[in-house]
Amino acid sequence: MTTATAEIGGARRAIRHGSVSRERKRALYWSYFFLILFVIFFLTPPLYMVITSLKSSAEISAATNPWWVNHPTLDNYWQLLTQNQFLIFFKNSVVVSICVVAVTMVIAVFAAFSLARVGFWGSATLATGVFLTYLVPDTLLFIPLFKIFARLHDFTGIEFINHWWILIVLYPTLTVPFCTWIMIGYFASIPKELDEAALIDGASYLQVLTWIFIPVALPGIIAATIFCFTVSWANFLYPLAFTTSTDQLVLPAGIVTTLIKGDVFNWGQIMTGALLGAAPPLIIYAFLMDYYISGLTAGATKG
């Protein structure tokens, strides 16, 4: 019988013990590295906008350092905020966005509940069809929609084109399909036991929706609201096509059409207008993000 032996004093492989804190630090450094790259990439344009908004036209025209303001001025902000036009665009945008969000969420929540929960013949096909309508780009839709409103004008005598409120009718064609689809997903993830228990206790479908589904699916509703608000705040094509007069324009179309004249760009005011226009969505995102995250972490059901 042979016995394998190891020589004492021979070469030994170094034993490395893992360090959790070292690994953690390494992960953190790499995370920060990529986050910094991300921040630089995505925040550089807004920074450039801020810098340009603080410059006069003369300084923008001059061949100076674009990343430095030699003679800062708030004239661009002052001129925009004291101009009726910009405030009208802002007001129109606010009213349109709020109305569109309200209309969309009412439609989407009810539609999603009926498609996801009530169940009827063809509901699955209808749900897929709702989502597929979202895939049609708005660049294909605006001319048929224009024709529809022109025909309605012929029948009713009501002038639809060139009024800001037409956007309240138009934007839901973009927002309802996607929001319905989001809500279908959220409602489908709610355990059936919840609504079955409520139904057994005598609740109607409307009560099930309002007392159980909406509170439980609140993060999804907020996500859909954010999407809906963003689409209606930032949409450019439909206001460009359907509104013409200055007092009917919303912010995106208004800034471009009134601050750019031919080949003369009022860059200072354009950047200022864009920053002021971006402020409401930013504030809403910041506010609703906290609520959304806390909703997620609170959990859908209690134990």
Binding site: A58, A150, N162, V264
Partner: protein, 447 residues
């Protein structure tokens, strides 16, 4: 069951009798109907106000209820509105069309022969290139607009060109007098190339763009045209494969090194900014750049002079980017629209709109090029006198006389600047660039 009472019969009878009485005609304030117009949103502050005033003067006299919308060309808003209204057969009664867009809508526009005949008789001919677009299948389908229509001559720095190139543009093209014969003959595309080299070496590259926007697409056509080249002829034949086109592209190959590297990414404002900053010695542009320079960089603004494009073997051409006023066939008040157009084209009206635009507007009628606005605007005084095509300068719409549907595509797709890009920065040969263009043009033939 309801019984018929005497009172009910009397009431009904009275109502019927009253409705059949011949009521006297009450002439309301807008007895001649309504008119809805879409004008181009003029870049010159105050120009819209003058046009509005003229329109309302007419409307008050003719008793028409007028609505005016000023539509920007930014974001293709004007084109968008035209396309949507043409499809929907609803919208404004009259719209403004830019360059080839009027010809593209020829089937939807009301003929204007009845008002163009007396206007041309009174105020002179229209430039052939503009007539080519405004007249389709033998009929005037739109009126060349007296408001907003610019050309793109040279807008150059008097001081830089004089000191570095040794060419005095104010002497060559003085205000209020004909061009200097000798200097005018010297101002050729070959001389332009030599001047570009000198200016570039002195740190002032030529401010000409090769992007895909209006300015770049427009200024390049007079270059090839004056060398005898064309992409498509008037019969729709592809003529890009020619020696003249090769020579033209070789000329561009020699020019590009003397231009800013990023000029291939320029939009319509980039060349303006380049000139206004003081870096650029010359651009091809209407007086909009000069006007902003006077406001933002007066030292540069005071040194800008507008003068004709250089000459080639086939002549001296300047790109016009005219607007046209067209009346939709579906308009319920075509007669009022035509009456308004006639009013706006009267000399007294045009003089006011030209003055309000500070000389930016070039009336299409040859007999309306003598307003004192062009002599007096400044600083420097008289800078826009030679902005108006005079002497041997021929106004052309880029890519005419190709058939409208093809020229429209060439214009919209920026075929010529892309050709130039291919044989310069993209490293292809002139032959390859021409082959590419021929392929593109064949595709346009199928539109």
């Amino acid at each position: 069951m309801r019984t018929l009472t005497r009172r009910a019969v009397l009431k009904t009878g009275t109502l019927v009798a009253a409705s059949t009485l011949p009521l006297p005609f009450v002439r309301r304030a807008h007895a001649a109907g309504k008119l809805r117009i879409g004008f181009w949103d003029h870049r010159v502050p105050g120009a819209n106000d003058t046009l509005t005033k003229l329109c309302h003067e007419w409307a008050d006299k003719e008793k028409v209820e007028l609505t005016i919308d000023y539509i920007t060309s930014q974001g293709d808003k004007l084109n968008l509105t035209q396309a949507a209204e043409a499809q929907a057969k609803s919208g404004h009664d009259m719209l403004t069309f830019l360059a080839w867009a009027a010809a593209a809508q020829a089937d939807n526009l009301e003929p204007m022969d009845d008002i163009m005949a007396p206007l041309t008789q009174a105020y002179g001919k229209i430039a052939p290139g503009i007539e080519y677009v405004a007249k389709q299948e033998g009929h005037w389908i739109s009126v060349p607009a007296c408001v907003g229509s610019p050309t793109l001559p040279c807008a150059g720095r008097i001081d830089l060109i004089r000191e570095i190139v040794g060419f005095d543009v104010t002497k060559a093209y003085p205000a209020g007098a004909p061009a200097d014969k000798e200097l005018n003959e010297k101002w050729t595309w070959q001389f332009f190339l030599e001047a570009s080299e000198k200016l570039a070496k002195a740190g002032h590259p030529m401010g000409v763009g090769f992007g895909v926007t209006n300015d770049s697409v427009s200024w390049t056509d007079p270059v090839i045209r004056s060398m005898g080249a064309a992409l498509v002829d008037k019969d729709g034949n592809i003529t890009v494969k020619s020696d003249a086109m090769k020579q033209a592209l070789e000329w561009f190959q020699r020019l590009v090194p003397f231009c800013p590297k990023y000029s291939f990414a320029w939009d319509d404002a980039s060349n303006n900014k380049f000139l206004i900053s003081g870096e650029g010695p010359l651009i091809f542009n209407p007086p909009s750049a000069w006007a902003v320079a006077v406001r933002d960089n007066p030292k540069v603004g005071q040194q800008i002079w507008h003068f004709p494009s250089p000459m080639g073997v086939k002549g001296r051409f300047v790109a016009a980017v005219p607007f046209f006023w067209g009346v939709w066939k579906f308009s319920p008040n075509k007669s009022a629209a035509k009456s308004l157009l006639t009013y706006l084209c009267q000399k007294s009206s045009v003089e006011q709109t030209v003055a309000a635009s500070k000389g930016y507007d070039i009336p299409p009628f040859s007999g309306l090029h003598d307003f004192k606005t062009w002599l007096e605007e400044g600083p420097p005084k008289g800078t826009v006198y030679n902005y108006v095509p005079r002497g041997d300068v021929e106004m052309v719409i880029p890519y005419s006389p190709a058939p409208a549907r093809i020229a429209n595509q060439i214009y919209a797709q920026a075929t010529l600047p892309k050709m130039i890009a291919k044989c310069t920065t993209q490293g292809q040969t002139v032959g390859q660039a021409i082959d590419w263009a021929a392929n593109e043009l064949e595709g346009f033939m199928r539109t």
